[in-house]
């Protein structure tokens, strides 16, 4: 039977181990991030440039092919916000101001976060699974022994693609959500759709759009790094790939939500 007096020590030991492992992982992610930037900027000097074609292929995979599902989600979020706004503001007889809440919450909050969660589930898992499978099959070792830097070859294109595509997707989600919400609101309030759009454009400032796009860019970096770090830390065979893929999605979404809160606090304080 376990000695109950040793239990608190074991708990603290466990917390300590996890903290150190977490810090270690963060350090690793930071090192990969800076190395990816380094190779992106200076790879040509070592005759190892980051291939634009690889970055475009990743942009297609992570961004363009995600458009249908991104559109569906954005429209649904827009409609949901419109329904809730009309209901809650209706309690005070202020339905005509629904556009303010919808515009600001979509542009500043919902578009980047929903796109972040979507891409974390869709592409973050793919990045982790790909890296993990490559590690297990010694493909990463093969790159290293060929003299091809794996960070330059595998990470930089992914990072570039996500940093560029996440704001694009967020911008697209802004448009779709506002349009979908506008259609519902104008139909419910019997006002013209053009008037709704005019009101929305009036209430939105450039800073609001940049706020959302900045968040989306940050989420792109988070998704790329979490996917890469988890994928490269795989142990075991197929089971290991499954574990790191799941872990990558869970950590990405958690970090996106936490980063969203910190970003919102820092930029609105």
């Amino acid at each position: 039977m376990a000695n109950p007096l040793k239990l608190p020590g074991k708990i603290f030991e466990g917390i300590g181990r996890r903290t150190v492992a977490g810090l270690d992982e963060m350090g690793y992610a930071a090192a990969i991030f800076f190395e990816a930037i380094y190779w992106t900027l200076t790879g040509w000097r070592y005759r190892q440039p980051v291939r634009i074609t690889s970055a475009f292929a990743s942009m297609m995979q992570f961004g363009v092919t995600a458009l249908p599902i991104a559109t569906l989600l954005a429209a649904t979020i827009g409609l949901m916000l419109a329904i809730q706004s009309l209901y809650s503001l209706g309690l005070f007889g202020a339905e005509q101001y629904a556009y303010i809440g919808i515009a600001l919450s979509v542009v500043r909050e919902f578009s980047p976060m929903i796109m972040g969660i979507l891409i974390a589930g869709r592409s973050g898992s793919a990045i982790a699974a790909r890296l993990a499978t490559m590690s297990i099959n010694q493909e990463v070792d093969a790159l290293q022994v060929m003299g091809i830097n794996p960070v330059r070859f595998l990470v930089s294109p992914v990072l570039i693609a996500l940093v560029l595509m996440m704001p694009c997707l967020a911008m697209w989600a802004n448009l779709v959500s506002i349009l979908a919400a506008g259609l519902y609101v104008s139909a419910q309030l019997h006002q013209s759709f053009g008037a709704y759009l005019n009101d929305t454009i009036d209430v939105l400032k450039t800073g609001d759009v940049w706020h959302g796009l900045g968040k989306a860019t940050l989420f792109g970096v988070i998704i790329a790094l979490v996917g890469v770090v988890n994928g490269s830390m795989v142990q075991g065979g197929a089971e290991g790939v499954g574990k790191v893929t799941t872990r990558s999605v869970v950590i990405s979404i958690t970090l996106i939500v936490v980063a969203d809160m910190i970003f919102a606090y820092m930029t609105t304080k």
Partner: protein, 285 residues
């Protein structure tokens, strides 16, 4: 051993450089006092080894003898510390990361399971080093890749995906990728593992052909004794992380060392059991 294998071995034996001739050649690999531990478990003890220009060195040993760890050190996947490894005259421990990348362009490695990129065709796999490390035109890369595929008897299979290949074809494709940059030194990890004797023998012939045609040095990590006799100029035998023997094929074959003979003749080694110690272990004391 089959008659064919005996003949091929005899032919290679006749072509083997003498010890004196080998000694005059430049060293392409020099390992000096290499130790390595995984945590508290030491797996390599004071490894000293050299490989000469144009030589085929086969590193043998049982499972867990440290041969794969040694290979990983030699190809730069593990740091050569403590100790020193010189590859093609360059001290790997003293090189910057960029210099190490440059050095790796001059070696080729074929992994045990091929390590071909599953998302690329065989031809794309072979062209990868050319595409990433040179400024050659696509047409030139195609020609070079096709040449290497032809050398490895894979002509006409370039369009296939790695998943469409047999075990032997996978290994040959991996070798084709390893030699596409015309390296001076190639490393082959267990080239004959998982292959039937006929395919394995064909792979041995390919290794000999490559050495003779391209004048390269070859380091083969293997546990296949027949293959080692056939292709090796020298054999290094590792046992529990230590070099047990490193000599020409005949000398290793006729070694009086019991452990060497056990390995070559696939005899299991039964440790003598101390009854008292055994009982104590069972009792958990």
């Amino acid at each position: 051993m089959t008659n064919d294998a005996l003949t091929a071995e005899a032919v290679n034996q006749a072509n083997r450089p003498s010890a004196e001739e080998l000694a005059t050649r430049r060293k392409v690999i020099e390992v000096d006092s290499l130790d390595w531990s995984f945590g508290t478990r030491q797996v390599l003890f004071d490894i000293n080894l050299d490989v000469r220009e144009g030589e085929i060195m086969v590193i043998m040993g049982g499972s867990g003898s440290g041969k794969t760890t040694l290979l990983r050190h030699l190809v730069g996947l593990m740091p050569p510390l403590p100790g020193k490894i010189k590859l093609l005259g360059k001290d790997m421990g003293a090189l910057s990361r960029m210099q190490l990348l440059e050095l790796k362009r001059r070696i080729g490695v074929a992994f045990q399971f091929g390590a071909l990129f599953s998302s690329m065709s065989v031809s794309e796999n072979v062209k990868l080093p050319l595409r990433e490390l040179t400024d050659l035109e696509e047409r030139t890369m195609d020609i070079m890749a096709n040449m290497k595929l032809e050398v490895c008897n894979l002509s006409g299979f370039g369009h296939l995906m790695p998943s469409d290949l047999s075990g032997g074809m996978m290994k040959r494709a991996s070798i084709a990728r390893a030699i596409v940059m015309d390296p001076k030194l190639i490393f082959l990890d267990e080239p004959s593992s998982g292959l039937d004797p006929v395919v394995s023998s064909a792979l041995d012939d390919l290794i000999l052909k490559l050495r003779d045609a391209m004048d390269i040095s070859v380091v083969v990590v293997s546990h296949d004794v027949e293959s080692a006799y056939k292709i090796a100029d020298r054999i290094t035998i590792l046992d529990k992380g230590r070099i047990l023997a490193c000599d020409r094929v005949d000398a290793v074959r006729n070694s009086t060392n019991e452990r060497v003979q056990n390995l070559l003749h696939r005899r299991s080694e039964q440790a003598e059991i101390d009854p008292t110690e055994y009982l104590r272990r069972l009792a958990g004391d």
